[in-house]
Amino acid sequence: MSMNREGRGATAPEIHEVHQDHKTFTGNRALRIEEALLFEIGRPEVTGVDLPEPPKVAKRLGRHERKAPINLPGLAEPEAVRHYVRLSRHNYSIDNGIFPLGSCTMKHNPRLNEKMARLPGFGDVHPLQPQSTVPGAIELISELSRWLIELTGMQAVAMSPKAGAHGELCGMMAIKAALEARGEEHRKVVLVPDSAHGTNPATAALIGFEVKPVPARADGTVDPEEVRKRVGPDVAAIMLTNPNTCGLFERDVVEIAKAIHDAGAYFYADGANFNAIVGKAKVGDLGVDAMHINLHKTFSTPHGGGGPGAGPVVLSERLAAYAPRPLVVSDGGNVALLEHAEGGAAESLGRMTAFHGQMGMYVRALSYMLSHGADGLRQASEDAVLNANYIRACLQDLYSAPAGDRPCMHEILFDDSFLEGTGITTLDIAKAMIDEGFHPMTVYFPLVVHGAMLIEPTESESRASLDFFIAAMRDLAMAAKAGDTARFKEAPRYAPRRRLDETRAARQPKLRWQAPEPMAAEAAE
């Protein structure tokens, strides 16, 4: 069997005695207030929205009117506000403190961007109202496109993909379309290094490519010789993250691109780590043919607990014609939104989403870019890289970095070799960080490093914030080495919940609330 041990960390936690000096009557602990489910506090006859009586008409629903009740609970406004405010307080967020989640670029989300996205001219316009009534919306997409093209040195940008993985799909479909146009559908192999995000192989496989690995050097970078050995007439593309997920810039990227192009294949770049190089290198100069840009990473649109994202894809001259519809094209001063296979969109690969993409995210991203300007964007990348290296320099005597003391880009990767013999794991370190008031770094990714810890501070952290974080991380490493096992194994103790039983959740999936038996019987009456 292919023994995948990554599930080890998640085994059922031991049930502990509750370590509390004093149990409260309510279960609450001062500001930390427990909150029941909506379905336990709401009532179907309650509503928090007042509407006038509907006009009396003869219904035209045919035979389709709903007869059975839905059993949806309602809340009055004060109840709803309190319910969701209480829930919000069970979350960690960037606005609470450093969120050093590697590869996720959790930077500050400027509130100006929120205000701009809510201007009625952006937030309250319909995707299918006449184009003549939305010239400013089309102008905004065109302007954002101009910034993305200039920052990457590419030929064109496909704006509509909804998130990073959707952008990957867009780029890989464009590559497939280009191969078909060349009559080379037989190219089925996509090379993906093992350090890649899971979305890369998942995307390639989704549209029928066969994924083959490329080995990495000891430091996690890709050797162009290894690429050259593997490219042949069957290879369609390579998917490469640069800077890679080990936090290093692929220094041989130009040679890798050449090897790929010489063999007639394409170079897809995963732009998840673009924040490290904005204003420092143009991916167009590196030989990239397609790259998605996570606006929710590099350009600060909020992650919102897991979305929405936005994943525009910049394309080289070789792929530009295949960009999905709809497409905003700019011809001198004229900007047009092409919705069908016409003009500049005649060779388009097709449609990837119902409308024009994530407009709300475009406004936020452009607001961020205008605020930073060319100078601020470059400064942000420099600060992000400096902050990561500062953490590296201040922790590398206690933590183990597989790349040694080589400078990193915007994130620093450690492995768990410094924990050898302590009985403490990467996961334990992460959980102990929670007790110290931090969100943990990315753990167990990339897969190429044992017990990986990937720390990305971003440019949003002040010197004082970094020093505080470093001091805490040093204390944790020393405690681990000193054998203070309980501090780690029982962590987190102070979070809204202790470690959760993920085995139980997966063995007996309970994915929705169900009325308890007596209530269910009542509802059926």
Partner: protein, 448 residues
């Protein structure tokens, strides 16, 4: 720069601590010949005032839905969203949190996802729902892929009532994935013979109701025929509010229900971000795409929530994952959940009834205009209007008169002469008697 806390002195000190001679030393891995030395050819940093001025000017060039009599639908709908919804989703702890990979400090997100999944399951009449897709159209593409996994067949049939953009999304994905997609021709009156398309190789039938032309469709016979041939029924809706008044797809035998959830809690925003709803039968959960939140207990035995069944997903299964989706529509789910909590059953029903009644009144008013005909018999809040003349031109002229009167079908289905005089017209609870009167009057003038 107001977003960057490091001072020049900090940078100097930190570089010294790092042991780098300059900031560029940290970028030494970028080959010199491709390292950017000049600043990008773009404007320099700006303060809040200047940014507001620039973006405010762009926004000011657009006609917002609230500023005119507004009847545009076809997959996105203007509804009233209570003020508290937008306030609550802007809570820092929701807005600026990440995917809940550390459940102990993400119970807020996880609990609302659990509430969201339950609400979606109840609304659609299904057993389980996931924690959202990007939007209704990409959700439909995922539903077809899922049906292929479940049935181990690769031939999908799409109804001619499916939103043409949704059809295009499915066809694009299908073409690249090497699947066979049979799309029926545009079916304005809901008369197609879809049953005749189902055979033993069919993986799924995809039917929208209310369909893009507004028709409410009877899903039961399609479910029966599909099941008799070992195929699945995938049903689609683009107006989530309809579920408050029309029979749920789950009750009619759907196997997978997908739809656009924008109508509840989310603004129009020129097409995105929206929220794809995705529900199915419990027996298919391991073939579902997307994130799932499940209930469990913590080490003290307290109830809590985690992301679960993640072995389906790309970060674990990589090239064998059920989908490549990673990011979902978290914050849009939250807006949906809060709005629906405020509505409750009573508020949802009343909103849906108002939408329907307003659409009926609108249909009556427009039919009074000479030469105009309502083609849709049974509808929820949207119907197809036949006008004597080119619909796209009529819509433009209406816009000039300050009425956004709907979507010409030719915008969705270009190059089809038989559809060129058709308009999709939608009405919701926001429309008033004055709006309807303005529309009828303007239409009369335009057609005169």
């Amino acid at each position: 720069m107001r977003y960057l806390p490091l001072t020049p002195d900090d940078r100097t000190d930190m570089l010294r601590r790092v042991g780098a001679s300059s900031i560029d030393a940290l970028f030494a891995d970028i080959p010199a010949k491709v390292r950017q030395t000049e600043l990008p050819d773009l404007p320099r940093a700006k303060g809040e005032m200047e940014v507001e001025r620039i973006l405010g000017r762009m926004a000011g060039r657009n006609v917002s839905a609230s500023s005119v009599p507004f009847f545009v639908g076809a997959g996105a709908y203007k509804h009233h969203v209570p003020a508290s919804v937008d306030h609550l989703i802007q809570r820092s702890e929701f807005l600026t949190s990440y995917t809940p990979y550390q459940p102990e400090i993400a119970q807020g997100t996880l609990q609302y996802l659990y509430e969201f999944q339950t609400q979606v399951a109840l609304l659609t009449g299904m057993e389980v729902a996931n924690a959202s897709m990007y939007d209704g159209s990409t959700g439909t593409g995922e539903a077809v892929l899922m049906a292929h996994r479940v049935t181990k067949r690769r031939k999908a049939v799409l109804s001619g009532g499916l939103h043409p953009h949704y059809r295009d999304v499915v066809e694009t994905l299908g073409r690249f994935a090497g699947d066979s997609i049979k799309a029926m021709p545009a079916d304005v009156r809901g008369e197609e013979d879809i049953l005749g398309q189902i055979d033993d190789e069919t993986s799924c039938v995809v039917v929208q109701s209310p369909d893009v032309y507004g028709n409410l469709r009877d899903l039961r016979p399609i479910a029966e025929k599909a099941h008799a041939h070992g195929a699945l029924l995938v049903t689609v809706f683009t107006e989530a509010m309809s579920l408050g008044l029309v029979e749920s797809p789950g009750a009619q035998g759907a196997d997978i229900v997908v739809g656009e959830g924008q109508s509840i809690g989310n603004p129009l925003t020129f097409g995105g971000p929206y929220v794809g709803l995705f529900a199915t039968r419990e027996k298919f959960i391991r073939q579902m795409p997307g994130r799932l939140c499940g209930e469990t207990v913590d080490a003290e035995g307290k109830r809590g929530y985690v992301l679960t069944l993640s072995t389906r997903e790309q970060h674990i299964r990589r090239d064998k994952a059920t989908s490549n989706i990673c990011t979902n529509s978290g914050l849009c789910c939250l807006a949906f959940t809060i709005h629906l909590s405020l509505l409750g059953e009573k508020g949802l029903r009343r909103t849906a009834e108002t939408c329907h009644a307003n659409a009926v009144l609108l249909a009556d008013a427009l039919e009074q205009v000479p030469g105009v005909e309502v083609l849709t018999e049974a509808f929820f809040n949207e119907f197809t209007l036949k006008v004597p003349g080119n619909a796209a031109e009529v819509i433009e002229k209406l816009a000039e008169k300050g009425v956004l009167g709907g979507v010409p079908v030719s915008r969705l289905e270009p190059g089809r002469p038989e559809l060129e005089n058709l308009i999709l017209v939608a009405s919701t609870e926001i429309n008033t008697d004055d709006d309807r009167a303005a529309y009828a009057a303007a239409l009369k003038e335009v057609l005169a």
